[in-house]
Amino acid sequence: MASTVIGAGITVEGEIATDEDVIVGGVVKGKLSAKEGVTIEHGASVEADVASASLVVAGSLIGNVSASERVDLQAGARLVGNVKAARVTIADGAQFKGNVDMDI
């Protein structure tokens, strides 16, 4: 159960930082950091650098990503930015433009 939910109709312009997890269904512009997982839902639009343990993208993200565990782009996701994560999956149908650094 996500602790912070930015609902589909809500826009946050600024920085969000949490020790728990975040689900974004609306719009976030700025910066997003979470100690647990971040989910960007289908239809959500994030323009921010994201730092978290893990990240699932089903919507749109423009920004750089730094995830200590994993990043998963689902079909329908759109990510423009650089990704730094230990594990990455990109589903068929996801759109991605950027560098991937798995720190190998």
Binding site: V5, G7, I10, D19, G37, E41, S54, R70
Partner: protein
Amino acid sequence: MAQARTSTRGGDREARIGRTARVRGRVHGEGDLVIEGAVEGDLAIRGDLTVAEGAEVTSSTVEAHEVRIAGALTGDVAASGSVRLSGAARVRGNVRAAAVAIDDGARFSGRLEVEFELPPELGGASRSEGRGRPAARR
């Protein structure tokens, strides 16, 4: 063990700023919002706003429909509906609403503006329905 759940309960889902979350910036949009953490910035919500106990909101303006405050809020509140301060609320700022309720124990410092019309026999202007009867309202 990051659990990423994409549950869409369709349409407007309640938005929540969790207890450990800190938001600095402007929050606006449609839908109800529950704040359990800390928010620093203006809020303009077309929905109900709940500031939970332990939450801290620092703002210059807070706009919402119904507002329920059980935590700390600094800033001016303009509610199109009612504002309720529960016992743990600590509010500093001006509050303008259609109705206000302040529970025992709440701390409030600021101006309260609750729109209402006095009936004409008490000196309020009667709506020009002419006849000098208190205008039926609400």
